[in-house]
Structures are given as C-alpha cells and as structure tokens.
Amino acid sequence: MAWFKKTRKPMAAAVKEKPSRVPEGLWVKCPGCAQVIYNKDLAANVSVCPKCGHHFRLTAAERLRMLFDGAWMEFDKDLVSTDPLVFTDTKPYKSRLQAGIESTGLKDAVIVASGAIDGIETMVASMEYGFIGGSMGVVVGEKIARGIERAIDARMPVVIVCCSGGARMMEGALSLMQMAKICGALARLDRARLPFISVLTDPTTGGVTASFAMLGDLNIAEPKALIGFAGPRVIEQTIRQTLPQGFQRSEFLLEKGMLDLVVDRRELKMAIANALRFMGATASAAPSPEPPVPVAIETAPQA
C-alpha cells in the first residue's frame, strides 16, 4: 500500500523535544518522599525517584525515547482537530487546542510511531497528558486507529501507553465514538493474532479506560497510577462517602484482577519485550504465526 511504503526519514528522537515534566532547575522535591533530588539523577533514572520509586509523569516523547532502542518513525503527526462542534465554554476550544499545541509541540494528545523495542519492530501510541489532559478526540482516535491498521498490514505488535483523563468533552459524541472506533480496530488486530499490550500510566480514566486501555493481551500498569472509569470525585458524590486509601490505584486494580502486572518503569521496556517474545514476536522480523484465515483489512485513506 503506497501510503505505508512511502518512506519518510526516521525522525531523530531528540529533535524539538519539550522539557520533561520534571520541573526546571537543578533540584526537585519528590512528592513521594519529600527528598530533594538532583534533576540529572532523575533524568538518568527515567524520571523515577531513586529514593522512594515515585514515578514522575513522562511526556509522550520521553516515553517513546524510553521504550524504543533508537530512532522511530512517527505517523500522522500533522493531523489537527477542526473543532467540529465549534465548542466554547469559558473559552473557545480552538484556543485550548492552540495552547496545547504551543505547550507540547504536538498537534494533539498522542504520538503514534514505529520503532524497535529490544529489537522488536513495534507500533507504539504514546499519549500526551500535557495536551488537554491527554483527552481523546477525533484526532487521537484517528491516529491510533490508523496505527493499529498499519500494524495489521505490517504484521507488527501494538503497544499503547495510556495517559489520559478520558474522552474529550469539547468534541462531544464524536469523541465518545472514538472508543468504538479504536476497539473495532483492536478487534481486527486480535483476529490477526497480533499482540496488543496496554500500558496504563497515571492517570488512565474515563473513556480511555473503558476502551483500549483494558483490552490488552496484557494490561501492564506503572506503580500507583490512578486507573478507573468514573473519576474519584464523581464516585464520592454518588455514594456520599470518602473513598478508601489506594482506591483506583494500580495495586488495587491488580488485587481486583483487572491488571496482569504492575511494573516499575525501570523494568517496563524489558517486561514488554519479554511479553512480545512470548507472543511470537522476534527481533527485526514480523511476529508469527500467520492468522488461520485471511483477514479483511480496510485500506486507510491517503492522509
């Protein structure tokens, strides 16, 4: 398919990268243990506190740099929402979009890219919380769906790193429908017997949890991430009591049987690579086995 074969130069990871969530300056105080940490130490430790293991939030690009062996190829980076509802609350959605674009350097809340994870060519979608809370609108939905369809064509595993407050209200029911759209693409990936690993990071809530985040062959979470469907405040209002400590955190979900494992970020890449190898993926080759029957694959349009 021409749109896929059209080779673009793999993009260098470090270009135009925005500063990490680790606050600027030489030192940072860890919210986990109140220790003062040298920023360089934190960066060298994939933004995990060396003292207490607190996981600082990563940007989408930092996440890709952490997962991929080297360079990656980004897809559909220039898709941008047209504000289909012409939505305005206290300020126009268009200005929220613009602010997101300026603060993250991205056009929307996800980067979709392929690259090698411990030698295994993988399609990765990495969500950007800094862009309107990582919320899922039509662009996020389209980019992830295209990524999954490309992975099916290229017989490549898919990893989605979730970091999102859920569906994007400012795109109304269109954003709700992205849940069905992505789950449909995942159904085809599943029929094609290709691996899907969902990585749930802080926070993963709402329509993202109630769609692709929970559908991994493996659902892997980082420690102490907030993961849930309804927001804690909504639940508290409904039941009129305060929630127990640790409710909707990774360890709680693991205990309730909703996650396969909780993995420290420093071991995440190898945990993913090992799982992918179990699922038949091999270094620099398409994973097997072939599907039992040919799967109808829709051709994505020329962007």
Binding site: A210, S211, E298
Partner: protein, 323 residues
C-alpha cells in the same frame, strides 16, 4: 394529572383548568370548554415542541413517563422471555435481556430499564448498570449470534454506575470488551437510542449495524451537568453545556453518529406511547429488513467502516502536511 416539564408551564395551567372544570357537574357548556382547552393544549404543545432547545430535549429524554424497553416489549414484541445473569457475579437489573418474537421472527432484546415507581427505580438502580449488566448483555448477544438471531437494543441510561463496586468489578473492562466484541458479532444488530444515551454506559451496548435515535432522545459524551461542572466550574451552566455538546438527534445525524431519526408524537413519546411505538415499529421493521438482506461479510465490513469513519471525513480534522 400528567406530569409536565418546567418549560411546559403554559400547558400545566390549561391542565389545571381542565381538572377544575372536570370536578364540576357535567353540562354541555362545560364539555365544550374542556374540549377548547384541550385544543389549545395541542396547539401550544405543537409550538413548544417544534423548537425545543437542547436542554429542553434533555428534560424530555429524561421524562419519568417516557416509554422505554418494557413499553416497547409490550407493544411491539410477543412472547418475551427474560434471561438473567452474567454467569460471573450477579444479575444486573438496569440492563434487561431476553428472547422475543418480532413479527413472527425470533430476536434478542437488550436494553436499559430505569423503572417506573420509586420502588422499581431503586430495583433498577435508576438505569445505571453495573459491570454485570454489560457482561450479561454480551453473553446474551453471543447466544443470538450462535443461533443467527438479530439483536435489537434499546438505549436509555444516565451512565454506567459510578460506584465502588462498579470499579472493583471492572465496569471499564466490561464496556471495553463489549465495544470490541460487538464489532465482530456475526448477526444483525439494530440500536435505538430511545431516551438518554449516557456516554460509555450507553455505548457499551450500542455498537451496531444501524443506530437509530428517537426524535427527542439525547446521546452525549457526558451529562450537561457534569460538563458544566468541569468546564464552566458551575453546574448551573447546564443549559449552555447542553447547547455546546450537540447532543440532540438532528446534531448527531449531521455528525454522522446516528443513521436515522425516528419521529415522535408532538409533545414527545410520553404523551402518546402507542403512537410513538408505532413509528418505532415502522423504522425498526424497515431497518431490520435492510440489514438482514446483507451477507455476513458485507454487514461486518459496513459496521466497521461506519464507526471507523466517525471523525475522519475531512470535516473533523485536517492534515496540515498535505493541505
């Protein structure tokens, strides 16, 4: 006296007058006056309902007497036989599933139930389904698939239940699995948004070959009150939020999210449930025939494409590189 909504105040006034007249001794003059008032109600109602605001539609969609699944079962189907439970944990009462006959053809019915009186509302958890509801629905739909029976879904829920046990038992997972698996269920699925289409709680049983929507139903990513609280930081801005969210049937038709609008009697389905059901019947029969005529491969491909195309028609985003 029929329940009237806040914007139906002029109608409520006439209804009170009728009630007062009805209490008086019966004379021809009295009857003529009552008839006159009834006609005025009809004309006022017609005017109001021709130009409902989005928020007014929200109120109509939530009307306590709005006919839902149970009403449609009575009027449009025969031999309903409910099946219970998710075979995992419990039987959820906010989602009902069962076998029925539609014009002589066996079908599976799935839908939310909000309940009529207070006792039943509590039993039905006001239509807020827990994870078991979504799992029961999928279990029942798999039976329908196995025996090649069409599935007809009626959607009417404020939301999936936002409670501790819902989270503990994985309501998000239950909805997610339905979204994935309904896309591949090899049997016709017709969805009718009949009342409140409350975000993921609605969508969790609403993936189908055709999604129809009753004229005054709503379908939204978040309730207007919730949206107002988050974006305006003021729940009182619900009217503005209802406007902004584009949650009405005409708006959703324009956005390509629904496939058809099912007309309602003037004044909404609750003013004449029999007439409302008749119009649903017509739309359902026609749509079911259309979808059933498709071969399995074509039907599944079309179902995928329908959702796949939501938000990619060139009107919802642009590719800045190619433009």
């Amino acid at each position: 006296m029929a329940e009237t909504l806040e914007f139906e105040e002029p109608i409520a006034v006439f209804l009170k007058e009728i009630d007062a007249l009805a209490a008086m001794p019966r004379t021809d003059a009295r009857d003529r006056e009552i008839d006159g008032l009834r006609r005025r109600i009809e004309s006022v109602r017609g005017e109001l309902y021709r130009s409902l605001t989005p928020w007014q539609r929200v109120l109509v969609a939530r009307h306590p007497s709005r006919p839902g699944l149970e009403d449609f079962i009575q009027r449009l189907f025969t031999g309903f036989s409910e099946i219970h439970g998710d075979r995992r944990f419990a039987d959820d009462h906010a989602i009902m599933t069962g076998f029925a006959n539609y014009k002589g053809q066996p079908v599976l019915l799935v839908g939310h139930v909000k309940g009529g009186d207070t006792k039943e509302k509590i039993f039905r958890n006001f239509g807020y389904a827990r994870p078991e509801g979504y799992r029961k629905a999928l279990r029942a739909m798999r039976i329908a698939e196995k025996f090649s029976r069409p599935i007809i879904v009626f959607v009417d829920t404020p939301a999936a239940y936002p409670g501790i046990e819902s989270e503990e038992r994985g309501v998000a997972e239950a909805i997610a699995v339905n979204l994935r698996d309904m896309m591949m269920l090899d049997t016709p699925i017709i969805v009718i948004i009949s009342g409140e289409g409350g975000s993921g709680g609605a969508l969790g049983i609403a993936v189908g070959d055709r999604v129809l929507m009753q004229e005054f139903a709503i379908y939204s990513v978040i309730p207007p009150e919730g949206c107002a609280a988050i974006l305006w930081r003021d729940p009182a801005k619900k009217v503005e939020a209802a406007e902004a969210l584009k949650l009405t049937a005409p708006d959703l038709m324009k956005a390509g999210i629904i496939d058809g609008i099912v007309r309602e009697p003037i004044g909404g389905a609750h003013t004449d449930p029999a007439a409302a059901a008749e119009i649903v019947d017509e739309a359902l029969a026609q749509t079911l025939a259309e979808v059933s005529a498709l071969g399995s491969g074509a039907r599944l491909a079309a179902r995928y494409d329908k959702f796949r195309n939501m938000g990619r028609l060139g009107i919802d985003f642009i590719d800045t590189r190619s433009s």
